[in-house]
């Protein structure tokens, strides 16, 4: 009895730290980051970085001196990147990564996962607000403003499949949608979810919070070394989880590793393609876009679904 409990604990820890969460997730996150950069470079007519580039970046940052600027709360400054990465890794436990069933699951874990994903954004916002540098502070206000604008539509867009599956548990929704391509019945929801993911990852056109030409590097301007590396890892993790969720919900599920990679990579390709075509939107335009069109689209989708389900029953 005791030995099985211990075995379970060991398995859990392995799941959390090595596979499918933790290490494996980080590696895939870095790989996806490379694919993102490489594809973007190719679309821009460039050669692009080498395959180990994100890894080298992270290792180098980890080895660098970390300067804690004067006047900041040191604990927050050091702790926030750790929280951000931990949030992302925890979220991974509830998601069908690499085509395997989620390591853990309970009714309502969808909501928890989404909020764990937002933790990264909130941590970045706090990290920016924590420093005295004004670029960071402006970056932080923009990060948080943007969070409030895309979060609701993104959430609603992911709840569409949940309502269709009549479950709030990611595992069950994924199982439900693995037999159906929900993108066909809920195209608007899919669209909002993909664009919402772009907002979440702060890639163009939603990169106002880190708009290089206006506010240097946004909330992370003051970070050097380790903090920056951890935030970068967290971002890689978020890419993978976000892509997984959308593929699992809308693209006919990710029942096995092959399907997982094919679908998430296809989605990544679409996101990069969109990104290379876009001009950065101003923060007020971002907010307007989401609340005027994003929410509206999702609500139309919901209405259609409710009517459809009513007619069916």
């Amino acid at each position: 009895m005791a030995s099985t409990t211990i075995g379970k604990y060991i398995l859990s820890i392995l799941a959390l730290l090595v596979f499918p969460g933790g290490l494996a997730l980080i590696v895939v996150g870095l790989a996806y980051e490379w694919i993102d950069r490489k594809l973007l470079a190719q679309l821009q007519n460039r050669v692009g970085p080498r395959w180990f580039q994100p890894l080298a970046d992270v290792v180098k940052l980890l080895a660098k001196e970390e300067i804690v600027p004067a006047g900041v709360n040191t604990y927050l400054f050091i702790g926030l990147p750790i929280f951000a990465l931990a949030g992302g890794l925890t979220a991974a436990l509830y998601v069908p990564l690499f085509g395997f069933a989620p390591s853990y699951g309970f009714p309502g874990d969808l909501i928890v996962t989404l909020y764990l994903l937002s933790l990264l954004t909130i941590c970045m916002g706090l990290a920016g607000a924590n420093t005295l540098d004004r670029f960071s502070v402006i970056g932080a206000t923009r990060t948080l403003t943007q969070l409030f604008s895309y979060e609701a539509p993104f959430l609603l867009a992911l709840l569409g499949p949940a309502v269709a599956a009549r479950s709030w548990q990611i595992g069950q929704i994924a199982a439900y949608s693995s037999t159906r391509w929900l993108i066909l019945v809920q195209p608007l929801g899919f669209l909002v979810a993909v664009v919402g993911l772009m907002g979440k990852l702060e890639i163009p056109p939603f990169d106002a919070p880190e708009a290089e030409t206006e506010i240097v590097a946004g909330a992370l301007t003051e970070y050097s070394g380790r903090g920056l590396a951890l935030f970068q890892l967290a971002k890689g993790v978020e890419i993978v989880i976000g892509l997984t969720l959308i593929s699992a919900f809308y693209l006919g599920g990710v029942a096995n590793p092959l399907m997982f990679f094919v679908k998430t990579l296809a989605l990544l390709l679409a996101v990069v393609g969109l990104q290379s075509l876009m001009t950065r939107l101003r923060i007020d335009q971002v907010v307007g876009l989401w609340w005027r069109y994003g929410v509206l689209l999702v609500l139309v989708q919901w209405l259609a679904m409710v009517i459809f389900q009513g007619a069916m029953s």
């Binding site: 821009q44 004004r134 403003t145 056109p205 030409t213 506010i215 001009t279 950065r280 101003r282 923060i283």
Partner: protein
């Protein structure tokens, strides 16, 4: 300028080292949330003392020094200086030299506008356009290199003429390159006129009426985008512009979109001129004889740089060195307009408006004006800013 920074938390300094600026110029924008309430420019980070430096160098040395006032529009500086010195000495460069000066000037305009298009797209966060326009710009850099031997700071001018001739092989390369670029430019014009996302960042942003543009003394494409027909190439033709005249390109709207269109449409005019010059290049010598010492005299020389009117005042005193060289660059004229235009705009629009005039700080190295409107926005606390942000967005959504 460092003393009050702690207090003015929401004064945003941009520069002198800032990704939006490839050159050093320092800006301080006071913002209300995201809205700019005042703007201040402090230049001089690139102030090298060239005007004084020229007084201690010979005329020929000064030519090379002045060419390095600015690396982007080096040829127009050298042309303005050469034309001025020739005027002082009473020498006229041969027609072939004048035509080659115009040829290089137009090639340089193409290079400068392409460069600007890329930088402007980069400011807008549209890196794909930046990459594409700079890739195509390499064509013009190759042409310039083939013609003069250097990609930047080409030193095509000599006092009394030019140093490089245009032969048949160069002619063919240029024509081939121009054909390719013309097609690409048509595509870019289409993008800046029709791309909806891009227009969101340019349409109706930084608008300046013709009256304002005239009052603020703007020059070049910035003035022409507001409907002012100011162009030295037309008003006071120099070099060979009388023989190969240019048609002036203007737009009425006066916003960023118009500035994009004016610059891109000017490119077609440049392509036409380049072809025409290559077809009717006058034969003859490349240089006229220049005296080493120049009798005491004064001269004014005006040239249309890619950014607008470039003004040189020269004075000689009978020695082989200038007595006084005064350079007035186009950016200094346009900078005042930026400081006025940005007030009331979003912080996110500031780099775009700034880049809309195609600023060139190394040309300029001077400082401008303080504009403070509404209240003195110093000493905003975090709480005040937060309040403001909330109210601002509440207004938008209600």
């Amino acid at each position: 300028m460092e003393t009050s920074e702690k207090k003015e938390l929401f004064t945003i300094p941009i520069g002198p080292q800032h990704p939006a600026l490839k050159e050093p110029g320092s800006f301080r924008f006071t913002v209300d949330g995201e809205i700019v309430t005042s703007a201040e420019v402090r230049l001089g980070y690139a102030h090298r003392g060239i005007e004084k430096g020229a007084e201690g160098r010979s005329w020929v040395q000064s030519l090379y020094l002045l060419e390095r006032v600015c690396g982007i529009c080096s040829h127009v500086h050298a042309t303005a200086f050469s034309l001025g010195v020739e005027q002082l000495a009473g020498v006229t460069a041969p027609p072939r030299a004048q035509a080659i000066r115009e040829l290089v000037a137009e090639l340089e305009r193409v290079h400068s506008h392409m460069l600007w298009l890329g930088v402007a797209a980069h400011e807008a966060g549209f890196d794909t356009l930046f990459m594409y326009s700079w890739r195509d710009r390499e064509t013009i850099m190759d042409i310039l290199e083939g013609l003069t031997g250097n990609r930047v700071n080409y030193s095509a001018n000599l006092l009394g003429g030019v140093k490089c001739d245009v032969g048949d092989p160069q002619r063919d390369t240029i024509l081939k390159g121009i054909d390719m670029l013309e097609e690409r430019t048509r595509h870019y014009l289409d993008v800046v006129t029709n791309d909806a996302v891009f227009l969101q960042r340019t349409h109706g942003v930084g608008t300046m009426t013709a009256d304002q543009a005239e009052l603020l003394g703007t020059v070049g494409p910035t003035a022409r985008a507001s409907g002012l027909g100011k162009d030295v190439r037309v008003d006071a033709p120099y070099a060979a512009y009388a023989d190969f005249p240019v048609k002036i390109v203007t737009a009425e709207a006066g916003d960023l979109e118009a500035r994009f269109q004016v610059r891109l449409r000017e490119l077609f005019e440049s392509y036409r001129l380049i072809r025409e010059i290559l077809d009717h290049l006058p034969p003859g010598e490349l240089t006229a004889r220049m005296p080493r010492r120049i009798k005491p005299a004064e001269a004014v020389s005006r040239v249309e740089a890619p950014r607008g009117e470039l003004f040189y005042f020269l004075k000689s005193n009978g020695t082989d060195m200038p007595e006084r060289v005064n350079v007035r660059t186009p950016t200094i004229c346009n900078m005042t307009s930026v400081v006025k235009m940005v007030v009331g705009h979003q912080l996110a629009d500031v780099p775009m408006i700034l880049v809309g005039i195609d600023p060139c700080f190394s040309c300029n190295d001077r400082m401008v004006v303080v504009e403070r409107k509404q209240h003195e926005a110093q000493g905003w606390t975090w709480e005040q800013l937060r309040r403001y942000g909330i109210d601002y967005y509440r207004q938008i959504h209600s």
